[in-house]
Symmetry: D2
Subunit: 334 residues, 4 copies
Amino acid sequence: MHSYSSPIKVGVAGATGYAGQELVALLSRHPHVNVVAAMSSSADSAARPMPRLARVFNGQLEPLDRDKLAGVDIAFLAVPEAAAADLGASLVHAGVKVIDLSGAFRIRNDEQRHRWYPATHALPAGAAYGLVEHYRDNVKRASLVACPGCYPTAALLAVLPLANAGVLDASAGVIVDAKSGISGAGRTPSDRTHFSENHGSVSAYGVLGHRHVAEMEQEIGTEVTFVPHLVPLDRGILETIYVKTAPGTTAERISDALHAAYDAEPFIRLTGDALPEIKHVAWTNFCDIGWRYEPSSRRLVLVSCLDNLVKGAAGQAVQNFNVVCGFDERTALL
Amino acid sequence: MHSYSSPIKVGVAGATGYAGQELVALLSRHPHVNVVAAMSSSADSAARPMPRLARVFNGQLEPLDRDKLAGVDIAFLAVPEAAAADLGASLVHAGVKVIDLSGAFRIRNDEQRHRWYPATHALPAGAAYGLVEHYRDNVKRASLVACPGCYPTAALLAVLPLANAGVLDASAGVIVDAKSGISGAGRTPSDRTHFSENHGSVSAYGVLGHRHVAEMEQEIGTEVTFVPHLVPLDRGILETIYVKTAPGTTAERISDALHAAYDAEPFIRLTGDALPEIKHVAWTNFCDIGWRYEPSSRRLVLVSCLDNLVKGAAGQAVQNFNVVCGFDERTALL
Amino acid sequence: MHSYSSPIKVGVAGATGYAGQELVALLSRHPHVNVVAAMSSSADSAARPMPRLARVFNGQLEPLDRDKLAGVDIAFLAVPEAAAADLGASLVHAGVKVIDLSGAFRIRNDEQRHRWYPATHALPAGAAYGLVEHYRDNVKRASLVACPGCYPTAALLAVLPLANAGVLDASAGVIVDAKSGISGAGRTPSDRTHFSENHGSVSAYGVLGHRHVAEMEQEIGTEVTFVPHLVPLDRGILETIYVKTAPGTTAERISDALHAAYDAEPFIRLTGDALPEIKHVAWTNFCDIGWRYEPSSRRLVLVSCLDNLVKGAAGQAVQNFNVVCGFDERTALL
Amino acid sequence: MHSYSSPIKVGVAGATGYAGQELVALLSRHPHVNVVAAMSSSADSAARPMPRLARVFNGQLEPLDRDKLAGVDIAFLAVPEAAAADLGASLVHAGVKVIDLSGAFRIRNDEQRHRWYPATHALPAGAAYGLVEHYRDNVKRASLVACPGCYPTAALLAVLPLANAGVLDASAGVIVDAKSGISGAGRTPSDRTHFSENHGSVSAYGVLGHRHVAEMEQEIGTEVTFVPHLVPLDRGILETIYVKTAPGTTAERISDALHAAYDAEPFIRLTGDALPEIKHVAWTNFCDIGWRYEPSSRRLVLVSCLDNLVKGAAGQAVQNFNVVCGFDERTALL
């Protein structure tokens, strides 16, 4: 863990996207942070004001400037993965710590990464996968933190304690049925994100071919069937996860594995039988996890939910930042 | 009223927009209609399928073909006003009756029309303003019917009986505060129609400068202050209309004027004190009108609502068509 | 098939619920039907007007009257299952054909039925399960038609052709993840149906314990894991169905089985790779079915969707009615 | 301004309603506050958990206990006005400062107050109307702060600077057309707050008879015509306000009056021509105000919006608390 003099100078590349705006808002209320650069690579940034941030962020939005960014203590990247791959590598090389929100640095296996993220490079030395609750020690000494994708965050937080405890029947695979708010599709208008195409509707997309599968399979080590759906709301993801347990698994064993993993974690709330709902996590950094289990059939249904722009993006990034800097993990997040 | 042999051959120009699709659906269930041409002028029409119309409309979508369109009995135009202005004039010239859903032929005063619809021409002989409930006789013998705009339809149906009865204090003007679903903004994606920009939000637009004002003022004959708002729903408009009555106006007088105008109308439902709601008119051709009146202050608040794609567009067009052809006005609309 | 003189006298018990209102609306536009009785058992029916049905249904709402109901040709029951069980049995006994929308007559196995619907009785002779596309002949000669539940309708229409063709790996079970609009929860206010608890949220309920499981397992003959979710919309269900195919199953085999079952069906639309969306079936009697298949892993994902109040309730009831009476099945439904 | 030793002991009566939960969340993150009592008067409070507050508020919910409440430094009341009237008076008598969110203490004129809030009493000495931006000095030394209603807050913040500057034509009155999210109707289920009755709909209520009119007229001193509407969203109010200006009023005059009033205010953002939207203020304590003016007709349209649960309730209460205690007004609110 590096030692910085407070306030820490941070820069944000990609400040006008939904995750970028959320990041600027969270960092603006962080008592130990000075946002010295909020940059947007989009040519039209001047034409896309950020009225939500008025009186919250008092700095100026500016065009992306690599040199200026190289002068900060810690840089947050909320840009597409091709840009992040280049920018992240050069910043690490310049000695700037990087917290990346894109998919550029999540997949360690080169073949898998190139399949899903063709424009990216091998991970730099000291890169950590920023699922804090499971890799906190790696994050503390990382040169670059790859924040997990929104869908993998919800799925892995629910499944990893069980996989690690040997409770799952790995041969049966894991099915993740995700329901996501539409802010996850970003700020660029399209037929898919048009209001009238989504109001009163639900649609599946990326069936059996979403790139977040690679990230989930990397961490869980078993086949993952993943189907994301757009549901008519703005912020939040709820995942319903279907697994089979190993023979002889009791309800206690499942509960114990989850509680052992998370009772001391500030942002994981286990709801047990009372299943979580998006409404309770929206606009927060919490991931809520509940489950129902039928021992006779060894069917286990987990429900995991979070806000895709907070715990699934900007909030998790700030949580990683807090770990990197040695602050209380909850700073600016409660 | 012209006499046609059944089924009547109709064509639709602009079949892939939201109003156009609604029109094709309604005409497909009309027992006396044969949709011989469903045309789209958009280059990308092939890339924008109409899954909602499968098994409903069994014809083929085709590119806009003026010659073919000139061969139908009655042509519906659901294209932007510049295209409608040209197409409408040439079809009338060719002896085809036209039902136009655009703004091209709504404003009789040339100066006003050019101000709001610069690319349009003088109205052809025999053009009628298709507010059936008030101009049915004109519509019957029209060469071209200009269907009213969605906002003016709701406002005029509420206000005209009172203006005609001399019940309004014209010097006070009319204030129309409209809440509209987002399908009214059409099918083209934009920042303004992006899901995440509208979910959980309300926004005003076109304040004091919306072109539907000219249409309302043409019919009411007094100053109209009009502010439309986007509300997070798909279909429907609710207008809250603030007027002052002439001195001495009683509650009975108001009620009598409205009931005299509409008790025999199949698509106007007066709800009196029980104010109408969008939910009750969505997916129907009804316009529901309610009101509250305080005689001591002469303040009258009218609430008028309809489905912008049906009574505010395609349904009203079919109602006009039924009048032109001499069918029961309710055909295909109940 | 019985022969009736037109128009057929029908009665509706439970006309004020959401499905009941939809039923009255559909029957009111049916050219061969006379709705002679629209009854509500709820004490407060007078206090719950049906503004949506004004000018659509011109009869009067009246309290439930068994004797009057026994005088109709065909009775529709849209009341809770305990009331439907009693009423249905007595009407059949009186020679009135019954179309029941409740769960009272869906489960043939007495033990299963009593477990999930305790207040019901053995099925009367001549009862048919009204999934028209699969049991049309039974429906034609039925004394009573038990309309399938909304969730089973969507699931069975997708899965039955594959189960019947021997394409499924039955040992792997069937997982049905359903996303439902909130009208499915009925018209009675509760914490669960409160607007602010659902807007911007998704919630799972009835995990591993919903009574529609019994109905699905009865028809499919294998273990069904079913998790319904409430999503923030009014009308519509989308089900994502996860199955494994039998070894050697090709993509063609799957496609052939579905097309053989449904190409001649007026209300089933196969969308293939272009997955269906609720928006395209809302307010219609269609069930749209699409799928994606990965032969190497034998993972098949089906997506099935319908409007829970139409194809999942009132529309399917009218479709059954049309079959019983020998009308074109599409009458009043297109 | 009283002097307290930090942390300040606060109690909340009515902690389970939507405003009460928001209040507990805001106070839990306040660095100078210790929430020693979170009380609910509702008998069923145990049955209505607050999953959103887990890990946010670490205390226990308890039944209402007047004696315990009399032991805090400052009490927040988020209970209905009859309970607030009694509780507030007795707490002030006991020397506890009170921040009340109900309507019990907003109307100074006894006749008006009894008309709209029959179960209330005369205001105690030292009661202040807690519209901080206009009555900060009164609030500083108040014994009890009556937080303004959600609708009046938005309307008064927009209109008061203009009324105070003599810019309005008072004889023309003020028309306030409000669009409100449904959380404003509270947490108790009813037909009016049922999800399916509001999704896809808009409805007006309380036309010409809402009790917030009295509060607006008290502050503005002229006739206010007020029509609130429910729009299908959870949190937020947008008000469109129609006024006439005094003869000769220029655009600059209007702009100057608003900027003079608010440029130094931390929670008022003037957006000028770029009209505000609910999305930009939801989950914040900001009130955003924009306007459009036509000098020739002297028509001025103001648009004002805020989050009804924050600036319209709990946030404004905490802002008042900060003023009473001498803290930076933004504490816990940015």
